[in-house]
Symmetry: none
Subunit: 218 residues, 4 copies
DNA sequence: GATGAATGAGTGTTCATTCAT
DNA sequence: TATGAATGAACACTCATTCAT
């Protein structure tokens, strides 16, 4: 899916990049605090460090800011995840590592993810599919990791359950951000990661040594 | 946590109940379509079947409508779930039944849940805790079901993992609604329920016959 | 051509009529002074005697005000002219009377006509044809008066010249308003009327006694 | 009346001339399409072929552009008319020729005239008199042609009617442009010219052969 | 209790103009 | 002399809320 272009009146590409960086950074911080709708374009401009007129040299509508924010966040998460996955071979260990890495990224980008998560629905019918597609790509990455893992470990899981597991991993990563109000009270990141991996994978390791020894029947 | 009172100028309690029913019904339908911020109070009044003046006889601010909506939805979900749980004894089967029932309720109330999910963050700092608390109560209900189940089946799971699993169940129920754009393309409700139960519980049933036979180590 | 409806949020037709009267009166005065584009909606509201919010209860866009103004002016001019024409039989005298009457109306409504004349072009592609059509109707009224006159007096003029003469009369009426900066310096209304009638009709009265005796070939 | 000077930062007179030519050409085309107020300075600069910064090296305000445009148009019309009149002796034939020539010029410069006609009112109180004065000069030229004609043909017309006739000629020329939406549907330029000349002059030719034989009493 | 006209602070967006490079 | 990024005052329009009837 081709990247949706956001129009800028300014020509200098380097400058556009720089200004949009400022803009996105400011916007994320404001959106986190008060949400997209309660944030004014003037506030975004001010937070970014320039005037309202300048803001509109780099976007066409307020919604463009939201799109830019979502686009940026997905790119960053996606890139970091891709890098990690490229390095691994694809056995059970690397699945765990991928999940762990992803959860850490989500922890790292909590604010951004929370914003995107809550505000993405405000994107226009035009921009939304592009953003949703990025989600699917990330889910697909997890699917592939799971498949590689299954093969390496000689396991089998119905295709639908692989998809479901991938979705679950993806959502649980976000969950650490958007349910922080409760989760962070009861879990440290390490515990959350360990716990979720345990819950996700204990079925896969049935009959083997359960690493964290957390479940024992009888 | 005591119920937050929404002020009404009108005295007749029966009337208040009736008017708020109309209001909530209309609001849910509008919020679903365009979100809380893009819906005007006039539209809510019109959809509810009375004038803007009358609307303000039963609420003080627009946000009150959102609160009323969220409150109502949680109450409905909570009540239905409680009823179901009261009927069961608490073994593995009833855990599965509870999850299944909860997922079906979420499917049934998809629109409402989606709305609440996306708009709850717009609640004031005053109203939000009350609503979040309702979430916690529901999560706690699942925790209890899981604990009952563990005991009945003679299993053990660390307290943290029980909490985590309860959260996962809760979020996966919502997920069926808020990720419908992709999930409904690949899963029928029955498959989704079966698949999630499988993934959630396969670790608990290690060594037993796996019902859906979906996992087999070499 | 059916009347273009301007949307009002307010229901009470009497009130709409009253408020729009205020609005049009204020707008004409402002448009005359600074033109449509340099007049702000707030100024219109203020001049009309109510708030900006109230203004927008009776129109949808600023352009609606212009349309309302143009519509009203044409209606008034048209009605007054029609009344006059209905009373006359249609000989040369009544043609003169009609021209004279029309010029007086234009003098009376100078401000309005000037405004309409200069700002009508700012109407949307949607509203313009409706207004232009009203012009044509008025021109057609003059055509008919001329034709009646020709017949009554036993004269003949090619159809095209009748049309042209009607256009000329129409424009010369407006001209008294939009070229007032020069005409009013050199002519009193009476002189302007007498002079134009003389110039318009001297050809028709060739060979008869020329009433104002203004032309005499050696 | 001395020419109003428009300030330029640039010194090179040749360059100023060249840039303003570009500017005026672009502006006329834009004003014609969307009017003065709806045209932005950026658009003018772009259409002229240089940057917004450069535009402001040759003018001080947007209104200067309008003034420059109006000035240029009047100069062109005036010059062409003067040339024509200088060649004629001043009898009835040359009056007709002058009118005919003027109407053709107005047809030729329709766009420019329309623009000027509709937008001149947007000139500042400062610039307007200068432009209006140019109109008066042109009207005066017609007055003189008429007077010459009267004398040459041994006719008499009161001074006021000469002035009026001159105004009428002037306005009828513009009318061909600003009422084109209706006139061009019913008249070819030739017919319009012939018709108007007929109507304008038939009174003057009473008792002679009426060229187009269009009027006959009894 | 019900109505809906009135209000005006607030919002997204534009655009003439400036000035450092 | 030419450029175009930056500015911010100004604008059209919206909408939650009030209150007289």
């Amino acid at each position: 899916m081709k990247k949706r272009q956001v129009h800028a009146s300014v020509k200098d590409e380097k400058l556009i990049e720089k200004r949009r960086d400022q803009m996105i950074k400011g916007a994320v911080s404001l959106f986190k605090e008060k949400g997209f709708h309660r944030t004014t374009t003037r506030e975004i401009a001010k937070e970014a460090g320039f005037s309202i007129g300048t803001l509109y040299e780099y976007i066409r509508t307020k919604e463009d800011v939201l799109y830019l924010v979502c686009d940026r966040i997905y790119d960053q998460v996606g890139e970091r995840l891709q890098e990690e996955l490229d390095m691994k071979r694809g056995n059970l260990e690397s699945l765990k590592a991928a999940i762990s890495f992803y959860f850490r990224v989500m922890d790292d980008m909590q604010d951004e993810v929370l914003v995107m998560y809550q505000e993405a629905k405000s994107l226009s019918k035009d921009a939304l599919p592009y953003v949703l597609n990025k989600e699917l790509e990330m889910v697909a990455m997890f699917e592939q990791v799971i498949r590689n893992c299954m093969e390496a470990e000689g396991m089998k899981l119905p295709e639908q359950e692989i998809q479901l597991m991938a979705h679950n991993i993806f959502v649980q990563g976000q969950m650490w951000g958007f349910r922080r109000w409760v989760l962070h009270k009861h879990f440290k990141l390490e515990d959350y990661i360990a716990g979720q991996i345990e819950l996700l994978l204990n079925g896969l390791t049935k009959g083997e040594n359960v690493k964290h020894g957390s479940i024992s029947s009888n």
